[in-house]
């Protein structure tokens, strides 16, 4: 009589993991996500800095976005039609979430004095630029997204609508309202 024992689950899991794990695939295949990371990390960090105005938070946002992209789509990125648009949209959403968390934290924490700007920022940014950046900080997250994507990334209204998953009319109205607020704030000074 021959007894056929079923293969244990741990052994099956080990076999499956050893045969087709993301780590093994990353070693064998060309890591497309690594190239994308090297090319797009700095622009995305700059984009996130314009949104959250904080370099460590911006770096965390970009790192989380790349990590989620790797976990969801692996290294080949064949399932992603436009990785750049995907990354910009992800960074924008993550920055919006960070601003929302920051606003909630400010509602429950005592107000802190604004950190002193770095010496490099003082040297690179003029007084007018700092005023504009400060005025941008008073906008809502959606208005800041539209302004940054329109005047720094140079995207059209349709592209902004596709990135933020909103309609073109919403982009137009949001941009108009944001410009009105900025004009009012900067004109007072």
């Amino acid at each position: 009589m021959i007894f056929v024992l079923p293969m244990p689950t741990s052994l099956l899991r080990w076999w499956r993991g050893a045969s087709a794990s993301p780590v093994a695939a990353a070693v064998s295949a060309a890591p497309a996500i690594d190239e994308l990371y090297r090319e797009r990390r700095l622009p995305l960090v700059r984009l996130a800095v314009l949104m959250v105005d904080d370099l460590p938070t911006a770096e965390d946002i970009v790192q989380d976005v790349f990590t989620r992209l790797y976990r969801r789509h692996g290294t080949a990125l064949t399932a992603v039609a436009d990785p750049n648009a995907y990354l910009v949209s992800s960074v924008m959403n993550a920055a919006r979430s960070a601003l929302r968390r920051r606003r909630i934290a400010r509602a429950y924490l005592p107000p802190r004095p604004d950190p002193a700007p770095a010496a490099e920022d003082e040297a690179l940014l003029g007084t007018g630029d700092r005023e504009v950046i400060r005025a941008l900080g008073r906008l809502t997250a959606r208005q800041r997204q539209v302004i940054v994507l329109r005047y720094w990334s140079g995207l059209s209204e349709q592209e902004i609508a596709g990135t933020l998953r909103i309609t073109t009319g919403t982009v137009k109205s949001t941009a108009h309202r944001a410009l009105t607020l900025l004009r009012a704030q900067l004109g007072e000074r």
């Binding site: 741990s10 080990w14 941008l136």
Partner: protein
């Protein structure tokens, strides 16, 4: 402030703020694939992976060991003698008697047999051969069918009723023949 001036100021301020962030300011984070690989290796580790893969036989061995211990314990602690019989209960009148040869007849008190109540099961069958005389003195009260077998094994001194029967037969024979039935004078 016109629309063009505002847009120009916005573009200039955003460019200056973004340019202030250079690659030197960024912390040296590894690529996501390398970070995931290092994180996986740190959390699981190759030796740990081998250890977890080589541990599949552990539950199987544990089950076999438990079964062996159970079987050994049963074999060692199993009672070797048969279980004692339950105490004998008096036989019911409707149940047929079952002879038990292991019980000595002397230990069981012989009940007085009567016509209406039969004797207990242990004392009826085989113990009749060794029955004492005084207990069988009332054999005349037995039914006729039970007299024959019991008289053959009965001792001589206990055969009183049987001698009476023989004397009766002799008297009847003498009466019929008219000779030697008379007692001789002393």
């Amino acid at each position: 402030m016109t629309e063009t001036d505002l847009e120009r100021r916005l573009r200039g301020a955003l460019s200056a703020r973004a340019t202030a962030v250079t690659s030197h300011h960024l912390r040296p984070d590894p690529a996501p694939s390398q970070a995931a690989a290092s994180r996986t290796a740190a959390s699981r580790g190759t030796p740990g992976l081998r250890r977890s893969a080589g541990r599949w036989w552990l539950p199987l061995t544990a089950g076999l060991a438990a079964a062996a211990v159970s079987i050994t314990a049963f074999a060692v602690l199993r009672p070797t003698e048969p279980a004692p019989a339950p105490p004998a209960s008096p036989a019911s009148p409707t149940q047929p008697a079952v002879p038990s040869p292991t019980v000595p007849p002397s230990e069981t008190p012989a009940p007085i047999p009567t016509a209406s109540i039969p004797a207990p099961a242990e004392t009826v069958g085989p113990s009749d051969n060794a029955r004492p005389a005084e207990t069988t003195a009332a054999g005349s009260a037995r039914p006729a069918g039970t007299i024959g077998p019991t008289d053959n094994a009965r001792p001589a001194e206990t055969a009183g009723p049987t001698n009476d029967i023989h004397e009766d037969k002799a008297e009847t024979e003498a009466a019929t023949t008219g000779t030697a039935a008379e007692p001789t004078p002393g």
